[in-house]
């Protein structure tokens, strides 16, 4: 853990509409070593509602890491990314784009909107699990995250 005073689980927000992919990600995180709490938002609007702690989400802490898919119903991933990085309270949270698209224009657009990194979901399960583990390892152990959001 980055912060020696924080002893709760690492909060991760997964914004993904495909339940199959959600479950896969959860299973992949289970194989990792880090004590975490994975919350899921099924679309862009729900994601922003959670982040802004609206309504039912008022008690939830802010996530330490956001995994964001680009293909979302209602608000798409780029709009959510833009909203997060524009918001004073939210812009420090690292956003990892985790999506199926490998298209050049999507990558460029994501970085333009200040995504912290862009990952294309591999087709093979083993590779996917390896990548999730590297995300964990990199963003949650190697990297220093901003304290006290």
């Amino acid at each position: 853990m980055n912060d020696p005073y924080k002893c709760g689980p690492v909060e991760i927000l997964l914004v993904e509409d495909n339940p199959g992919d959600v479950r896969l990600t959860m299973e992949a995180f289970k194989e990792g070593k880090i004590y975490h709490n994975l919350r899921v938002a099924g679309d862009g609007e729900e994601a922003l509602a959670q982040l802004r702690r609206e309504g039912a989400h008022a008690e939830h802490p802010l996530p330490d890491l956001i995994l964001l898919d680009l293909n979302l119903p209602k608000k798409n991933g780029s709009e959510v990314l833009h909203a997060i990085k524009r918001d004073e309270a939210l812009k420090r949270i690292p956003v990892v784009i985790l999506t199926t698209s490998a298209a050049e224009q999507d990558v460029v657009k994501a970085y333009d909107l200040h995504a912290n990194c862009y990952i294309t979901k591999p087709v093979d399960l083993d590779q996917f699990i390896t990548i999730i583990k590297s995300i964990e390892s990199f963003w949650l152990t190697v990297v220093k995250l901003p304290v006290g959001i």
Binding site: L24, E27, T100, V123, D124, D126, F128
Partner: protein
């Protein structure tokens, strides 16, 4: 974007060339008729003048007959005759000359029409005055060309109008035909562009949307294996193996179809490129396979050709990759040659692999056709189909010769 067809430039080129031609034709016709008319009428007028001169000469000869020596001095007698002739409208000038060719000025007659500008080319005719078979003088007579000029001018105006009309016709008519053809061509181009876009969209949908359900199948079957390995029994591995293998093959098929369709939809304009450089890049790409199999790639000097750089790369990579993959007992030896003949370059890729039996020569270029099982040699059977499509796009030909057990040589042509 496949080779852009030029819209409208044919008619532009044509109109530039056609204009002077049409103008010349028009001008020619415009001038031809009045010129011909003038020439004919001028001849007729000369003939008329000739006759007048002849008649005048005869009348003068009557008087000469009376006074053969002194006729030149008896001016008053001739004035009468000449006055008569003066009433003839066409006559403008009359003169009599003596036997020495000197004009008898007292007898010279001119009418009001003499010396007008339209008479610059007016016929001048003469007729000898004879007495006792001896020429004692000459009658000179000029006639007016006024009516001829007027009529020629009228004909010139009419034929100018006709000439301009014909010129316009000669200009517009072929252009109309070309425009119509170009219109059809433009419509076809638009249809093809739309069709191309549709194909590209379809290919994108195929690659993108088909892969997600595949991913689910493949991932969850594998997850099953990971989580419930022990609990499922020994056959489970086999079942899972087949399921996962099926999914990943489907994946490869989709990607291959995409590659195949993109030969045309993502093809770039053909340009002059160094095929030697393409080969060097391909050998670099295949470094791993070359090292693994201990393969040796040799080549002659390769020429400049007209091609799409990356597609030529795909072509070389498929052919050389195959040569390495389908090797016999000996390590693969691949040799590439090129020969320029006229405006074509003949390439050959020769290997010492397992060879192909002649009965399969046609089949192997078909999409997804394989000659071996997947356990013997991997691959989906699209490499040669892509090669063929690339060569067709470049307007060339591809074929092979082979001996089973010793090797195969692939040949293809490209524009020099």
């Amino acid at each position: 974007m496949p080779e852009e067809l030029q819209k409208r430039s044919i008619s532009q080129q044509l109109s530039h060339r056609l204009l002077p031609v049409a103008a010349s034709i028009g001008l020619l016709i415009a001038l031809l008729f009045p010129a011909t008319y003038y020439w004919l009428e001028h001849r007729t007028l000369r003939h008329t003048a000739n006759i007048y001169a002849q008649i005048l000469a005869e009348e003068v000869e009557e008087l000469v007959f009376n006074e053969p020596d002194l006729w030149k001095y008896q001016t008053y007698k001739y004035i009468e005759i000449l006055q008569d002739f003066k009433t003839v409208n066409e006559i403008t000038e009359m003169a009599l000359q003596d036997e020495k060719g000197k004009e008898i000025t007292e007898l010279s007659q001119t009418t009001a029409n003499a010396g007008k500008w339209w008479n610059w080319n007016a016929p001048v005719e003469s007729w000898p005055i004879t007495y006792n078979n001896r020429q004692v003088g000459k009658v000179i007579l000029k006639v007016s060309e006024r009516t001829v000029f007027v009529k020629s001018a009228v004909i010139l105006s009419v034929s100018l109008v006709i000439g301009i009309g014909l010129a316009l016709l000669a200009y517009r008519f072929p252009l109309r035909v070309v425009w119509k053809v170009e219109g059809e061509l433009d419509k076809t181009i638009d249809k093809l562009s739309r069709s191309n876009t549709e194909l590209e969209q379809f290919a994108y949908i195929a690659s993108h949307d088909l892969q997600e359900p595949l991913r689910m199948v493949s991932s969850y079957v594998k997850l099953l294996a990971r989580r419930y390995q022990e609990q499922l029994g020994p056959e489970a591995d086999e079942y899972i193996g087949f399921a996962v293998d099926g999914a990943s093959r489907m994946q490869t098929l989709i990607n291959d179809l995409l590659t195949y369709s993109r030969v045309n939809t993502r093809g770039k304009e053909l340009a002059r490129i160094d095929s030697g450089r393409v080969l060097r890049d391909v050998v670099q790409n295949l470094k791993l396979a070359i090292e693994e199999q201990g393969a040796e790639i040799t080549h002659d000097t390769l020429p400049t050709v007209t091609a799409d750089y990356s597609q030529l790369g795909q072509l070389f990579q498929n052919l050389i990759g195959n040569a390495i993959k389908f090797h016999g007992d000996a390590p693969p030896r691949v040799h590439i040659t090129a020969e320029k003949q006229g405006d074509e370059c003949f390439f050959s890729v020769r290997d010492n692999g397992i060879g192909i039996s002649a009965e399969h020569y046609e089949r192997i270029f078909q999409i997804f056709q394989r000659l071996h099982t997947r356990t013997e040699y991997p691959g989906s059977g699209i490499g040669l189909a892509v090669c063929k499509k690339i060569i067709e796009r470049h307007g060339g030909r591809i074929w092979l010769t082979s001996t089973e057990g010793s090797g195969t040589t692939f040949y293809f042509t490209l524009a020099a």
